[in-house]
């Protein structure tokens, strides 16, 4: 009997516990008590969120993105332009350098030609001067050569006359003396030429 009562008590307490937990538990999601409240607040919060996002925030973000895209495009464009400009400048620069090189070459060639022509002119003048000098000198030499045997002859005959005068003490026929001297000189010149 006692056992049965205890069992009963245990059973009832278990039952009440399970009933209580069932009341508490289950799925609170299916309890419609706050459904309307949740719908109401969902509408309000989500509605405000949607309105503020779509009216104020999202347009600004899209504007930012668009602006960035445009800015980047613009930057690329200007970079491209500047690249083209610099390429052009480089070409111009190269051309200028080429031109100046050519000009320098021309100037150098002209200068060289001028110098060369001047040098040749001076050389020719010098040669002419030298030639004329040489000719003059040669003429003089020839004259001297031509005149020297006569002089030598006269001097030699004079000297022989004097020597003979001193030796003999009388005048000798000048023409015979000179003829003798000439003969002797001819012999001498022959021997010297022969050497």
């Amino acid at each position: 009997m006692k056992k049965i009562i205890l069992l009963n008590i245990f059973y009832f307490s278990f039952c009440t516990v399970t009933v209580k937990s069932a009341e508490k538990g289950g799925m609170p999601q299916l309890d419609p008590e706050f459904w309307v409240s949740q719908i109401f607040w969902l509408t309000i919060t989500f509605g405000t969120l949607f309105l503020v996002l779509s009216k104020f925030i999202l347009p600004r973000i899209s504007k930012n993105l668009e602006q960035r895209r445009l800015q980047i495009l613009e930057n690329i464009e200007t970079a491209e332009k500047q690249r083209e400009q610099s390429e052009k400048n480089l070409k111009e620069f190269d051309e200028i350098i080429l031109k100046s090189k050519n000009k320098a070459k021309e100037v150098m060639l002209a200068a060289r030609e001028k110098v060369v022509s001047e040098i040749t002119k001076k050389k020719m003048k010098l040669d002419e001067d030298l030639n004329s000098e040489i000719q003059n000198v040669e003429k003089e030499i020839i004259e001297l050569k031509l005149s020297s045997p006569k002089k030598i002859n006269s001097i030699a005959s004079n000297i022989t006359n004097e020597v003979i005068k001193r030796l003999i003490g009388t005048d000798v026929n000048e023409s015979s003396v000179s003829a003798l001297v000439e003969e002797e000189l001819k012999k001498l010149s022959r021997s010297t030429n022969g050497i």
């Binding site: 937990s21 508490k24 538990g25 289950g26 799925m27 609170p28 999601q29 299916l30 309890d31 008590e33 706050f34 459904w35 309307v36 409240s37 949740q38 719908i39 109401f40 607040w41 969902l42 509408t43 919060t45 989500f46 405000t48 969120l49 949607f50 503020v52 996002l53 779509s54 104020f56 925030i57 999202l58 600004r60 973000i61 899209s62 930012n64 993105l65 602006q67 960035r68 800015q71 980047i72």
Partner: protein, 244 residues
């Protein structure tokens, strides 16, 4: 704290009871977390939108990446015609995502784990998409239920199936999100309870499992928000570009 894993889904009143007639519109913990999520979204994206740097900083990058992410998702699934609905889908995605993520904070409340919330969202989408479909195509929108290239014998059956599948859209959409969130949170609660009941000796296994589950749940939180948004895009695509 109750060990009941369903206790976390309880809705209770915060502050005074607000009643309009017989209708109870009291501010509850669910309302609180809706407000918190919305405010968090607004604050973060407002901060991100205010900066106009050519090279964005972190918060600006966050908002801009979210923007491009959602916009790409919409254009990939629903095409360029869906552009006017971008704001709505963006808000929807962010709202669900933030509600899911705030639910991951211990002792917080998961708004999206309540069928009524997800069902209202899904029903709104369903009704909106249906209205858009009828506005864009008139009665031609009913061609959605008649797929081309089906033999005439099968047509009545197919049409019935199509109509049922169309009508079950809001239910599948809402139950998917609600069930995922509820199951995940219940499981985490159960494993958390195991940690306590097994104590310092045996509690390590469920604890490590709980840690892994937390990671998984964060993934699920993102994934379910994404799925919710992308299914909305797909439904919208059906309404905008009718080609079956």
């Amino acid at each position: 704290m109750a060990a009941n894993p369903m206790y976390q889904f309880n809705v209770y009143r915060i502050g005074p009871e607000i009643k309009i007639g017989e209708i109870d519109l009291s501010f509850t913990n669910a309302s609180l977390f809706m407000v918190i999520s919305s405010l968090a979204i607004l604050i973060i994206f407002n901060l991100g939108a205010q900066k106009k740097n050519i090279i964005p900083d972190k918060i600006q990058l966050l908002s801009e990446l979210s923007y491009t992410f959602v916009s790409k998702m919409i254009s990939d699934t629903a095409g360029s015609k869906a552009k006017p609905y971008f704001s709505f889908i963006f808000s929807l995605f962010m709202f669900v995502l933030f509600c899911n993520m705030f639910g991951m904070i211990p002792y917080s409340f998961t708004v999206t784990s309540h069928i009524i919330v997800t069902f209202v969202l899904a029903a709104f989408i369903f009704i909106g998409v249906t209205i858009i479909g009828f506005i864009k195509h008139g009665l031609g929108y009913l061609k959605l239920f008649v797929p081309s290239g089906v033999p005439a014998v099968l047509l009545p059956l197919i049409v019935v199936i199509e109509i049922i599948s169309y009508l079950s859209r809001p239910i599948s959409l809402s139950v998917r999100l609600f069930a995922n969130m509820m199951a995940g949170h219940t499981m985490m609660k159960v494993f958390g309870g195991f940690v306590v009941s097994l104590g310092i000796v045996g509690g390590w296994l469920p604890l490590s499992f709980s840690v892994a589950l937390t990671g998984l749940e964060i993934l699920v939180a993102f994934l379910q928000a994404y799925v919710f948004a992308i299914l909305t895009c797909i439904y919208l695509n059906d309404a905008l570009n009718l080609h079956h």
